[in-house]
Symmetry: C2
Subunit: 115 residues, 2 copies
Amino acid sequence: MIEQTLPAAVSRSCCPSLTMRPLGQDDAVEFARLLKAVADPTRLRLVSLVAANVSNEACVCDLTEPVGLGQPTVSHHLKILVDAGVLDREKRGVWSYYSIKASTLEKLAAFLSPA
Amino acid sequence: MIEQTLPAAVSRSCCPSLTMRPLGQDDAVEFARLLKAVADPTRLRLVSLVAANVSNEACVCDLTEPVGLGQPTVSHHLKILVDAGVLDREKRGVWSYYSIKASTLEKLAAFLSPA
DNA sequence: ACCACGTATTGACAAATGTCAATGTCTTGG
DNA sequence: CCAAGACATTGACATTTGTCAATACGTGGT
């Protein structure tokens, strides 16, 4: 049986779009989680600060002062961003270096783009 | 005095980008509000349902059943989307017709796009 | 004028969220 | 091995958020 129908979830999950395709419940939940991770002024500034740094990475100590929040709070926000796939974390020695995960932002931008 | 320097706020607010430019506090707050409006599974599905309808508009009565929530709750979500500029509302008779405001989604997608 | 119906608003409440203080974990230097 | 430093985790608390029930508002038909 070579002609096998694909599971419905596969075709539904293919390049989901907010306005160009009917959005399934699963995709809605997934993208809502991703959007929630970015839907905070502090986290937006953290992402921007990471992107603005030379070599496109930053440690927590670089970020605490610019956003004016305590270290635990900044770590908490960074964890949310890493869990959502917006940032990558790499531990080198004592420091944790955070960098932008461009593919996730691309996915998000493509999802929202109405064109 | 023809050569007039533009207010700093103007140049900072020009085509803000999450990863390509340092993000000011005001832009961070503004985009966080916009993202919050979309960062909910129900509201994502509402936007998708509106976009999927013929003539690209829908009234509340079209939306309550698909999302499985009460009419006041759906109205509440739609208000949030309208306030954020994601949807437009047009009252015709007894019905309120909601439609996609593409320019806002474009702005969001451009803001998030890392390219 | 009244009634029916579609929508919006209000009030209430449980759940989630953002922040901090305190503490825990792990790596490096001496 | 110990101390210091960088980061993560936990617990607590006020604020915000998503939902519903009840009610108010506005329009069209009879």
